[in-house]
Amino acid sequence: MTDKTTGLFSDYIAGRISRRELMTRAGKLGLGAAAIGTMLGGAQTRAMAANFDWQKEKGKAIKLLLNKHPYTNSLLMQIENFKALTGLAVTWDIFPEDVYFDKVTTALSSKSTGYDAFMTGAYQTWQYGPAGWLVDLNEFIKDPAATSPDWNVGDILPGLLHSDAWSGVPGEPLGGPNAKQWALPWGFELNSIAYNKRMFDQAKIEPPKNLPDLIEKAVKVQTDVKGIYGVGVRGSRSWATIHPGYLSGLTSYGGADFTVENGKLKSAVNSPQCKAFTKLWVDMIQKAGPKNWTNYTWYEVGSDLGAGTSAMIFDADILGFFQQSGDTKEKGNIGFEGFAANPDKKEPTPNVWIWSLAINAASNNKSAAWLFLQWAAATQQCLFAATKADLVDPVRQSVWDDKGFQTRLNDKFAGYLEQYKASAPGSKIYFTPQPLFFNLTTDWAASLQKMYAKEVGVDEGLDQLAENVMKQLTDAGIAQ
């Protein structure tokens, strides 16, 4: 890179020139858009190096365990900058999601030193943290020698940071006084409706307002538009089926996974509210869901929306975002809408999924791994990844406030920002933290599959599930 270009990017970062000016002048110097993007990232990384010694762990090597996900792509796009910044050698393994968490569980539980840092969700830390497999990141965040003063932990949306912290005691809330910071938020998702505007126009319908309305409209659109099905939701026999649309809708109807009585957990999956909601949910899938719903992961749900096989999805907002941004058939046709399932409620209550980064407690390179976490969640990196790649929803307030990011959203993703603003106030993790998260949600998904196939009635299925849940909790010694 020449001095002219270097100077140009530094000016931009220092705020001396606007983005538009940067693009124009860089273009005049013969740089294409992609090159500008990469160099901008590099410049931002160099700027970060100003106040903090990123080269502390120079010469070491770290290995990452990553999920097959657009976030991973955004990370790898800039990984060379990280290597240059820190002098670390970085290698990684990527697995598709249906085996990803098995790999993580295996790696952590065996206390293997193979992987230093990895992607995880908040829920998984409820199992990994209390088992002693994760490093409490507070020891790094609160240590001025370990964390750059520019890093600004306060910029990370507090709700998200707290959701990744838990004391490990069932019954105690997330982010409470004794909570350990098991992971660092990196990107998150709310659950709302993403729909195909073209199909909705053809069927002359507006985005649905609540669940009964959704069922009606989904049936209408699949009748009016040939060769599609109405609404896509996940259905595979896994925890991933419960946390997006299902739990968001359930919360709206006043249901929950557990109630806490005297510090003890009691299963609430068979409450009247849960039964009422689940009946509607199963009905929706039977009437307007995908044909092999029981195999559907988020890959399939998103892919169908993008390919024009489904009219809408009630799943992660970012899923619709990916379909709109990628090279899909329905690109440009996707609309976004916040969604409150309960007709009696106005505000959406989306459950939140937070992709986070964590450090293996058995790692031999914890400080080096922390450098990686810091870099990945730093403002510059988040801003770059949100504007140039697909790391949405960004976890930092400053990124949401950034004009460039807002422009990008309003230009190409009409309705997304509105959907976010409508959904954000009611968004949090509505699961009750407990270490048997995987077991219980997997059984819950299996139960939904049985109800869908009419093997068992909804009431009976949920009663059985509640009984099964209590038994498992008792066996593990964490229930009454």
Partner: protein, 281 residues
Amino acid sequence: MNGKSVLRAVALTLIGLFFLFPLFWVVLMSFMTNADILRNPPSPFFSPTFHNYVALVSGQLVTTVGTQKIDYMLNLFNSTVLSAFSVILSLILGVPAAYAFARYKFRLGEDMAFTLLSFRFAPPLLVLLPLLLYFQSIGLYDTYIGLIWVYQLITLPLVLWIVRGYFEDVSEDIELAYRLDGHSWLSTFFRISIPLARPGIAAAALLSFIFAWNNFIFALILGSSSVQPVTVGALAFVTASGIEYGQIAAALVFSIVPTLVLAMFTQRYLVEGLSLGAIKG
């Protein structure tokens, strides 16, 4: 008479179709673009493309979300390495042992032979689960050596039982004559016994290779990305916004071609191999 022939012909055709159609269709799909595959109703008329194979070989998966690397060629390499070395190791361990079992009746031998045979039928996870826990502590997890060692569970019993049968058929007289001519036991073994049992050794080697190649659960549990063979690697073909079915089909074709080709060579020995020598082809 005629009715019966017609019935026979119909039956044979149906059988041929049932067993061969899936193979044919998968090969067809591997030459289709994703758009062609997703077309409903499916049509056998399409313009073929090598795009899927190119993507696999070059290691680049161009999807709607960007370009991702695929390591399928690495998987093929892993399958080859794991299967070949497992077979070689089994031959080294198994052929002498098979000779011993064939020639000498010693009680420990019968016990060992039976144990190895019975473990061929034991649930693999029973052995894999504790092995996984050890391997991680001694650093053999996700290594070639670790897996080749464990693959002996598949290949060694096969080698032992097939080759033993062949050694039992080799006349002892020839060996004795050679020995009486003054040659040592070792040279008798290498110059006479092994060449005479060569068909059996070849059969055992080819069959073991095929079974090792087709194995799934061992590599799933004791291996990770660096040693993943094609059977496990074929599961990994999903992307964030667009599942590339054409590439899955091409990957499947790649993974079955080696064994199908080898099978052509093993036809003669298949019956004996599959029945562990109980039935002579």
